[in-house]
């Protein structure tokens, strides 16, 4: 049952990336990287899992800093409203 969890995390994370709330998008990206960590943790490369864990935690903090600046600038974290860099 738990063998499918990395794939569930990947699928749920990809679904979450389509949401409007920037925080949920950030946490969904974390879910994808957690899926990778769990996948690697089951293998013989557990040191890599530890490294990935640190990297994804740092990524979360950087993302959160960006999110705070977005909120201070636009006073919302709704990604449909923040459209300054649209192509």
């Amino acid at each position: 049952m738990m063998e499918y969890i990395p794939f569930f995390l990947l699928a749920a994370g990809l679904y979450g990336l389509t949401r409007r709330n920037a925080l949920k998008v950030l946490l969904s990206a974390e879910m994808v990287s957690l899926g990778a960590i769990i996948l690697v943790a089951g293998s013989q490369y557990q040191a890599l899992a530890l490294f990935l864990l640190g990297a994804s935690a740092i990524e979360a903090m950087v993302g959160f800093t960006v999110l705070l600046w977005l909120y201070k600038t636009f006073e919302t974290v709704d990604l449909d409203v923040i459209r300054g860099l649209r192509g």
Partner: protein, 158 residues
């Protein structure tokens, strides 16, 4: 028929991960989303614990609880009084997250500079005896689960 504890913990971890993911997506409030995310992380840590990957399980809890705590506290600072009140509920995570990060750093230094005395296993073993590390990990698991449950209850009460 005896209850297969490993199967039960595996199932519990599965439920925690699924509930955490669905709750995070569907929750309307930011702090609650983060708490559900923490539930998901706890589920994964429990799964790793069952799979005997103790170090990674502990680090997963410590790192993501620290991240969640910082998320909530900073959110409270920047988004106003109401959110700050909710952020305060999660501040109980701060103390043990700090201790955990200290362990993490100490074991990192011990590996890097070859000071075997400072490994986390040795520290826990000295304090709790032969099964110290397992006991320490179980304690942290229970404490973190309790802390997140209490923060959720406080949030619901508000």
């Amino acid at each position: 028929m005896a209850l297969n504890i490993e199967w039960f913990m595996d199932f519990l971890a599965f439920v925690m991960v699924i509930a955490g993911a669905i709750g995070m997506m569907e929750s309307k409030r930011m702090v609650r989303s983060i708490m559900y995310f923490l539930l998901l992380v706890l589920g994964l840590a429990l799964y790793l614990f069952v799979e005997h990957v103790y170090y990674l399980s502990l680090y997963l809890i410590v790192v993501y609880s620290g991240v969640a705590m910082i998320f909530i506290l900073f959110m409270g600072m920047f988004l106003g009084d109401k959110e700050m009140k909710e952020g305060g509920a999660a501040s109980s995570l701060a103390g043990w997250a700090f201790v955990g990060i200290l362990f993490f750093l100490l074991s990192g230094f011990s590996v890097a500079f070859n000071f075997p005395v400072l490994t986390m296993h040795d520290i826990a073993g000295t304090i709790f005896g032969q099964y110290g590390f397992v006991l320490l990990l179980l304690g942290l698991l229970i404490f973190s689960a309790l802390a997140s449950v209490f923060s959720m209850i406080e949030e619901v009460e508000e």
